[in-house]
């Protein structure tokens, strides 16, 4: 269940990032908001199930909202887009204990660290994107004494890439629970836009064994049969790079499709 919560949170962050793009039409924005609301609902349900089964302590480190506060929040304060991520939907400060305040500040700190992880992830992608082109340029200009080895640095030659990260072991996967989920979503967010995803179902997912994720008959239904939530769940699952989170997102997809069938 914890993995499912992380998987949904990863999809939620990706959707939130898409929502921040200025190029979206109003319709697309509404779709993303619906999707985020759906994901929030699923996350809250899972969090409640988890705390009911194993106590509130099990929700520690999970992107669960302050469940006890949700029941008292109605009509007091409408959630903003920002409150969909990490922060509880409603935080009545006057009723918080000191420990709850500290926990909330902790969440903000780790959310800030997760943002930094994503920034570094993008930087690493920038660097690694440069290296292959340098290799190509290098093989062409290797023999020249003062050849066109890229005075500007945009091109140039190179013998070796920078794939070796010094054995330092400091990858974002090691960076703690709160950051790892965001780093995952950061990766998925890099891959491109979600809105045009109908076309990438074939190409982008050709090598995915969908039957492993519970598709009836091992085949996905045509994308046209998906509504906005199903479509975005499918896209999130296709883009997810962590195999476990990917599996959970596909399970969510099929659960959602099952609900639709039953209706």
């Amino acid at each position: 269940m914890r993995k499912s919560i992380f998987a949904l949170d990863s999809a939620r962050q990706t959707a939130f990032k898409e929502l921040q793009r200025s190029s979206l039409s109003q319709g697309e924005r509404d779709d993303y908001k619906d999707f985020i609301v759906y994901l929030n609902t699923r996350i809250v349900n899972y969090c409640m199930e988890l705390t009911e089964q194993a106590g509130e302590a099990t929700a520690a480190g999970l992107p669960c909202p302050d469940i006890s506060a949700i029941g008292t929040a109605e009509g007091v304060q409408a959630p903003t887009e920002e409150t969909y991520i990490y922060l509880p939907v409603y935080e009545p400060e006057e009723t918080h204990t000191q420990a709850e305040k500290t926990a909330s500040m902790d969440k903000q700190l780790f959310a800030a660290l997760a943002d930094f992880d994503e920034l570094l992830l993008k930087e690493e992608e920038n660097v690694s994107a440069r290296v292959p082109s340098q290799r190509e340029a290098g093989s062409a200009g290797q023999n020249g004494t003062n050849g066109s080895s890229g005075a500007s640095g945009a091109t140039g030659e190179s013998g070796q890439g920078s794939g070796d990260q010094n054995g330092s072991g400091t990858t974002s996967a090691d960076a703690g629970e709160s950051s790892s989920s965001s780093a995952q979503s950061g990766q998925t967010a890099q891959d491109g836009t979600a809105s045009g995803a109908q076309s990438n179902v074939g190409a982008g997912s050709a090598d995915i064994d969908h039957s492993a994720y519970g598709a009836p008959g091992g085949k996905l239904p045509p994308p046209q049969d998906d509504d906005i939530v199903a479509r975005q769940l499918r896209e999130a699952a296709e883009k997810e790079t962590d195999p476990e989170l990917k599996k959970k997102l596909w399970e969510e997809y099929w659960k959602y499709k099952g609900v639709k069938k039953g209706e």
Binding site: Q98, A112, E124, Q134, A151, G156, S162, Q165, G167, T170
Partner: protein, 406 residues
């Protein structure tokens, strides 16, 4: 007795010179750890971008060296040392850092002299306790044959220098006790913790009169503030890894033009020195012949023969030939200057680019660190109920260490 004293003095002077200019041996074999070391024995290393001594007028005018070349070398050489140290298996993460850091071990270097023929570096190493491991000078003069078989990361023409430095560091490391390793690692962590959360980690370290850090008390492993600081420290390491990725791209971009420049420069320098030597020999021989001829002509016994005149004329011809030969040195000097100019023009934009990326990243990170420091202070105040103390509790040692940034 007096003679013995003079000889001893001469020997002492010679040995003194040898210490100042410690020439490295040829074909230095790099030390390697015999087995994989436990993480408790692995120290993370920060090699600070090298400094360099100001170029002399002679180095600029006679040797064609330039500040642009030095700026390029200040970044290239620490990266070569990093690759060398990484291969030994003695160290944890080895990183090149733009400014001094609080890593377990910090290596700083100054380029005293560098051209394609000779390299002299001054290297000093400190651990996180501020204990100086050593300060040494390393020098090597190359033969042209040492340019064969060079390869990026693996073999620099001056690889003997890098191997010797790495071996000295490894040898010093071998002398550390288990307690030393633990203390170095703990002090490094506590210094970083104090930098991020001085309220929470104000009393954990002491600095003695010599500027050496000692542990006063340790935080509990379960201390939530320590966990937060570790999470931040991890980001700092990741930032340095990203910066190192840029440095590696820079190194790879620079490798070919720098290798070409050094090799051609060395060839020209050797040729120029040879021509200079020949010119000087001819001029001296010519001068000797003229002096001899003049002396013989004044000698009544041989003045009647034509030999003195021949010697004078021959001597003049030799001096003229020597003069012509010395003109050739100018050609070599011009070539050296041209080579250096060409290399400078290639290296300069690469340096500007990597410095720009580093400044951009460290600037962004420093802004974040300020925010996180503020958040940690608020969390600490919330957790303990203590009021937030003013931000002035800096405990940097009063030593020859430069001011440090995280």
């Amino acid at each position: 007795m007096n003679r013995l004293s003079v000889m001893l003095l001469a020997l002492l002077m010679l040995s003194g010179c040898a210490t100042m200019q410690s020439k490295v041996a040829d074909h230095v074999r790099p030390m390697h750890a015999e087995q994989e070391l436990d993480s408790s024995e692995l120290l993370d290393v920060a090699i600070v971008i090298f400094d360099s001594e100001e170029l002399t007028d002679d180095e600029i005018s006679e040797l064609g060296l330039s500040e642009e070349i030095r700026r390029a070398e200040e970044r290239y050489m620490p990266i070569q040392l990093k690759y060398t140290m990484q291969r030994t298996g003695y160290w944890g993460a080895v990183r090149v850092v733009p400014t001094p850091s609080k890593a377990h071990l910090q290596v700083r270097g100054t380029i005293v002299h560098s051209d394609g023929e000779q390299l002299t570096l001054e290297i000093e190493a400190y651990d996180s306790r501020n204990v100086k491991w050593f300060e040494k000078s390393y020098s090597e003069e190359l033969r042209l044959s040492e340019y064969s078989g060079i390869a990026p990361e693996k073999k620099d023409p001056f690889q003997d220098v890098y191997n010797t430095i790495a071996n000295d560091l490894a040898a010093h490391r071998e002398e550390l006790t288990t307690e030393d390793f633990r203390e170095i690692q703990q002090v490094s962590e506590l210094r970083a913790a104090h930098d991020m959360a001085p309220d929470a980690f104000g009393g954990h370290l002491e600095v003695d009169k010599k500027g050496i850090y000692r542990i006063a008390r340790l935080p509990a492993e379960s201390d939530p503030m320590l966990q937060r600081v570790r999470a931040i420290q991890l980001r700092d390491d990741m930032l340095l890894d990203t910066i190192n990725s840029y440095y590696e791209v820079y190194y790879n971009d620079l490798w070919q033009p720098y290798s070409d420049w050094r090799k051609l420069y060395n060839e020209e320098l050797v040729a120029m020195k040879e021509v200079k030597k020949q010119a000087l020999t001819r001029q001296l021989l010519g001068l000797a012949a003229i002096v001899g001829g003049v002396a013989m002509s004044s000698n009544s016994n041989v003045s009647g023969s034509g030999l003195p005149g021949v010697m004078v004329v021959g001597g003049a011809a030799a001096i003229y030939s020597g003069f012509q030969k010395s003109q050739e040195t100018k050609i070599h000097r011009d070539v050296i200057e041209e080579l250096s100019l060409s290399f400078s023009s290639e290296a300069e934009p690469l340096v500007i680019e990597v410095v720009g990326e580093t400044v951009r990243l460290t600037g962004t990170a420093e802004e974040k660190y300020q925010q996180w420091r503020k958040m940690l202070r608020e969390i600490y105040a919330s957790e303990t109920g203590f009021p937030v103390a003013p931000e002035n509790s800096n405990m940097e040692p009063r030593s020859n260490q430069p001011a440090e940034v995280m």
